[in-house]
């Protein structure tokens, strides 16, 4: 995760530095200028409508998917629609097939289906996919709200890339089924039945798979996210070729109660009591002779960051200290008056029950 983040940062740095260059790259890629309507005509036949389990209460029984092989491999999201033994897959031209799940990767929220067909138009995943930034025009294809029936092609929505960001499974940030890099789209792409559809550039290059409906816990708005195809490619190919072994899910770890291995007290910091939901993380007093006292932490300092994470409240601080391991270096940024001060500590050796 750390390595990945660093790589991402390097990428971002490069991007910033070579911003102009990137513009040129995009322009070059777009040499085979193709209008939006021409793109839609070539992409639509590769997107399918999926009907399966559900239909009760708020669980809709329809979804979207896209074809990745001429012989009928179909990629979609891992969802309750696939709970039955089989699903119905309807192609753009109205042909109906029975689809079976051949593999799934829950950590990527990914499933691959197979239908018995031949000669289908498909997205060739061996062609490298571009990385695009905010402002790039995109098209989203899905059977949102199952508007398309029978031989009707799926719905197309246009927009631009709003942002590239990371969905993090860190508690309280996103309650997302998937964590990792995503595109955020400036269009209402993620609605009932849209998950499993595709996002392409306006020239039809595959960018990613539309995600589920998800609320952004930072801003409390709906989030239209798309999982980049680069994240899914390996797993899809492995499932297709039968070499797939599901990765260890993070779920087990996530579901257990938040660890409480360390607390500010282990460093000699006594916090102001947690009285309301968002009690700010103010230092009440510092135990004389402790690591914090030696470093120079003072009463009334407001702890703002632990490592790179903003601690919006005492509770967030408790969670950040809780996950420390013996010997970890921990960087703490505090606000004192109008100054920001950084302190570093080492988590002391401690007998922690397993």
């Amino acid at each position: 995760m750390v390595a990945l983040k660093d790589t991402a940062r390097m990428n971002r740095l490069l991007r910033t530095m070579l911003c102009g260059l990137l513009l040129i790259t995009v322009t070059v890629v777009e040499c085979r200028a193709q209008s939006t309507s021409e793109t839609i005509a070539t992409v639509s036949p590769k997107v399918v409508k999926i009907f399966g389990a559900g239909g009760r209460k708020n669980l809709y029984a329809y979804g979207s998917g896209f074809v990745v092989s001429a012989e009928g491999h179909i990629v979609t999201v891992w969802s309750h629609i696939l709970d039955g033994d089989s699903v119905t897959v309807v192609l753009h031209d109205g042909r109906r097939y029975e689809g079976r799940v051949v593999g799934a990767e829950p950590t990527l929220d990914l499933a691959v289906l197979k239908i018995d067909a031949e000669g289908l138009p498909f997205f060739d995943l061996s062609i490298p996919t571009p990385t695009v930034g905010p402002g790039v025009r995109v098209l989203a294809f899905s059977n949102v709200f199952k508007v398309a029936t029978g031989d009707e092609p799926v719905s197309v929505v246009h927009g631009v890339i709003a942002a590239q960001t990371t969905l993090s499974a860190r508690r309280g940030v996103f309650d997302a089924p998937y964590s990792g890099p995503v595109y955020i789209v400036d269009a209402i792409t993620n609605n009932s039945g849209a998950a499993g559809g595709v996002l392409t550039t306006r020239t039809g290059q595959l960018l990613g798979m539309l995600g589920k409906e998800l609320k952004n816990n930072t801003t409390h708005t709906w989030l239209n996210y798309v999982v980049p195809i680069s994240q899914l490619q390996t797993a899809i190919t492995e499932i297709q070729t039968g070499k797939f072994a599901p990765r260890k899910t993070q779920d087990d770890e996530e579901k257990t109660a938040a660890p409480r291995r360390y607390s500010p007290r282990d460093f000699g910091i006594v916090m102001v009591p947690d009285v309301v939901t968002k009690t700010p993380a103010y230092v009440d007093r510092v135990i004389p002779g402790s690591a914090a006292a030696e470093a120079g932490v003072m009463p009334d300092d407001l702890i703002l960051f632990v490592g790179e994470h903003l601690v919006a409240s005492y509770r967030a601080l408790r969670d950040e200290f809780g996950v420390l391991e013996s010997g970890d270096r921990v960087k703490v940024v505090v606000r004192r008056g109008d100054q920001l001060l950084t302190f570093e500590f080492t988590a002391p050796r401690k007998n922690i029950e397993p």
């Binding site: 513009l23 209008s35 905010p134 402002g135 942002a163 590239q164 960001t165 955020i184 801003t219 708005t221």
Partner: protein, 650 residues
């Protein structure tokens, strides 16, 4: 770079033309447009900052959770940053700004523009990148606009693309865009395709004000930005640390649809800039700052860009002549509070004769006595009790003046220091002497009466005191019962002696639904009261509404809607919601609120009383311990009767 933008612009125009000619958009133009978007965003990006807050409220308003991250825009190289006031409604305890180059600074709030909902903050930094400002007069409906935000964990700001939907919205305060505007980018810039900042994204609502007004329109295609040019124009005022507040001058206009109505003044508020400038009811506003005005909307559009403290010149048409008045807008017009002298006038005859001097009142302290004839107030002659009441109430409660009286044939001048209305009812109040003459031969019906109101075909009952005489105006109590209980026998037996003693007619319209009164019943009650007034002589200043339980909210609506005809409300057993309407010097209202201490509603009723007092309505709040079966205990009935018998106090 510049040439690319020029190309893109040309391309934009061409697209529009091309779209008419061919159905399919041209791929090359789409590409150029896209490039222009990306460049525009990149030009402004370094000025767009991420703002994180710590602590503060959990919810901005019921059901609207507060987030921890928002966007800001650098407006000066030395560290002034603007954002939407939306995010700061949670009153965070600490604010942290992260620049596009990842440097972090603690920030302090400087001031908020409450007219446009823009918050200014400051960080201690130098040499920050300041964006170019797009001139407001160049905005065109239909031009591209990009909404940028920095709430995602990402190096570049998020981008939403749309067009300008309108240039003068929310009374001239904002431009409208169909780009997606939400907590994701509130506080961020709305950028034109040249990379100049048009405005700062904020939630706004044409109907309501406040930090969170308009947030319900997030991502709906209706988004607003406050022109940066406007914010820059007031930046120095904000830097001084003063909040900028909407400017008021204190008038209401005739007609229900305030925006579409003619700008004819309906009311000029007491002690407002408009009153001080000499504006009068009936004046038609025909100009503001030299610009012509035909409708209220035009006036509001100019005022929407003004603040408290700004000076305006209004041109008013009054009859044949035009009047120019200069006035300074204020942030708040104090509620009208009537002054209190502490006398009850004689009810027979026009003259202002003192009937009772109320205990512990300014009148008592000044030495006024019963039977004094008041001939002048504030050294100006007084001809009637009604005129005196009017002039007393329009003074401020802390003012001092002189009252001239004739007593035993001599004229005396007394100094009186006025006060606020007391919040208790006099422990004793002598009833007006009743007539003992035998009733006339053609006298109207008295006693317990059951009637059906023509036109509505609905029932009401009455009690008219046997002591009623046509030449002696009576008080009138309109009793509104809870929907599920007419309370007729309890109320009749409790009130019959009071009605007799104090000369009060009781009328009780009957609610026909167990669920209680609804606004549809207003007309029925009004017509009931009109019918009683037609048949009996009623003193106009002693009409009041009395309600219990679930009839209370309806009674309040009835009272506030009929201020010209109702002068008090005695409410018990239920609270009111919302805010009290403005206290109107022309239509005086008094309140009596009571609750049993055992009642679960007691606290809420007390809050209602506080709300009415805050709006400066003379209000009495009483509690009682001993509860009578289903109605008020007799001591409380006596108190309400005394209160009602003193409604003509001044």
């Amino acid at each position: 770079m510049k040439s690319l933008i020029v190309i893109a612009n040309t391309a934009l125009m061409m697209t529009i033309t091309a779209a008419c000619a061919t159905a399919a958009p041209d791929a090359k133009l789409e590409g150029l447009e896209e490039q222009a978007f990306r460049e525009a965003a990149a030009i402004v990006a370094p000025s767009v900052v991420r703002i994180e807050t710590v602590g503060g409220l959990d919810q901005l308003s019921p059901g609207l959770a507060a987030g921890g991250t928002t966007t800001g825009l650098i407006v000066t190289a030395d560290g002034y940053i603007v954002s939407s006031a939306f995010h700061f409604a949670s009153k965070p305890s600490s604010i942290l700004v992260t620049l596009s180059d990842t440097r972090r600074f603690p920030a302090r709030l400087v001031a908020t523009d409450r007219q446009r909902m823009i918050t200014l903050m400051k960080i201690d930094a130098e040499g920050l990148p300041v964006p170019r400002v797009a001139p407001r007069d160049g905005f065109k409906v239909g031009q591209w606009s990009l909404a940028l935000g920095r709430t995602f964990d990402s190096d570049s700001p998020s981008v939403s693309i749309g067009i300008i939907s309108a240039v003068n919205r929310i009374w001239g305060k904002a431009v409208q865009t169909d780009a997606k505007v939400s907590p994701v980018n509130y506080g961020g810039p709305l950028v034109d395709v040249q990379g100049r900042v048009m405005g700062v994204l904020v939630p706004l609502s044409p109907q309501s004000t406040g930090e969170t007004a308009g947030v319900e329109w997030y991502d709906s295609g209706i988004g607003f930005a406050v022109p940066l040019e406007d914010t820059m124009a007031v930046l120095d005022r904000m830097k001084a640390g003063d909040d900028l507040l909407p400017g008021l001058f204190g008038v209401t206009f005739q007609g229900r649809d305030s925006a579409g109505s003619d700008a004819v003044l309906d009311r000029v508020r007491f002690a407002s800039p408009a009153e001080k400038a000499g504006l009068k009811k009936g004046d038609r506003i025909v100009g503001i700052d030299g610009r012509p005005v035909y409708f209220v909307a035009e006036l509001r559009s100019v005022l929407g860009r003004k603040y408290a403290g700004d000076e305006i010149t209004l041109t008013a048409q009054r009859g044949e002549k035009k009047v120019d008045v200069k006035l300074t807008l204020v942030d708040k017009i104090p509620p009208f509070e009537p002054a209190y002298l502490g006398i009850l006038p004689q009810r027979q005859g026009e003259a202002a004769v003192v009937r009772i001097v109320l205990p512990d009142s300014p009148a008592e302290r000044a030495g006024l006595k019963a039977k004094d004839l008041i001939t002048a107030w504030n050294n100006e002659p007084v001809t009637s009790a009604r005129e005196l009441a009017e002039r007393v109430s329009r003074m401020r409660p802390d003012e001092a003046t002189t009252v001239t009286v004739q007593r035993d044939g001599k004229t005396e001048s007394l100094n009186v220091k006025l006060a606020s209305y007391p919040d208790t009812v006099p422990a004793q109040l002598t009833a007006d002497v009743l007539s003992t003459d035998p009733p006339a031969a053609d006298a109207v019906k008295t006693g317990r009466l059951s009637e059906t109101l023509e036109g509505h075909d609905r029932k009401y009952w009455m009690y008219v005191p046997e002591s009623y005489r046509k030449d002696r105006p009576a008080g009138l109590m309109v009793f509104l019962h809870p929907g599920d209980d007419s309370m007729e026998s309890a109320v009749l037996s409790a009130w019959k002696p009071e009605c007799e003693r104090r000369g009060i007619i009781l009328v009780a319209p009957q609610c026909d639904r167990p669920a209680g009164w609804s606004p549809n019943d207003l007309e029925f009650v009004q017509d009931c009261v009109a019918k009683v007034k037609e048949t009996y002589t009623v003193a106009p200043d002693r009409v009041f509404v009395h309600a219990t339980g679930n009839a209370v909210p309806f009674a309040a609506v009835y009272t506030f809607r009929n201020k010209a005809a109702v002068h008090g409300a005695a409410l018990t057993g239920a609270a009111l919601r919302g805010n009290a309407p403005e206290n109107d010097p022309d239509e005086r209202l008094q309140f009596h609120l009571s609750s049993s201490l055992a009642d679960k509603q007691a606290t809420a009723i007390k809050v209602t009383a506080e709300m009415l007092k805050k709006a400066r309505f003379p209000t009495v709040y009483t509690t009682f311990t001993q509860a009578a079966e289903g109605y008020l205990p007799s001591l409380m009935v006596e108190e309400v009767a005394r209160w009602a018998d003193a409604l003509d106090r001044m």
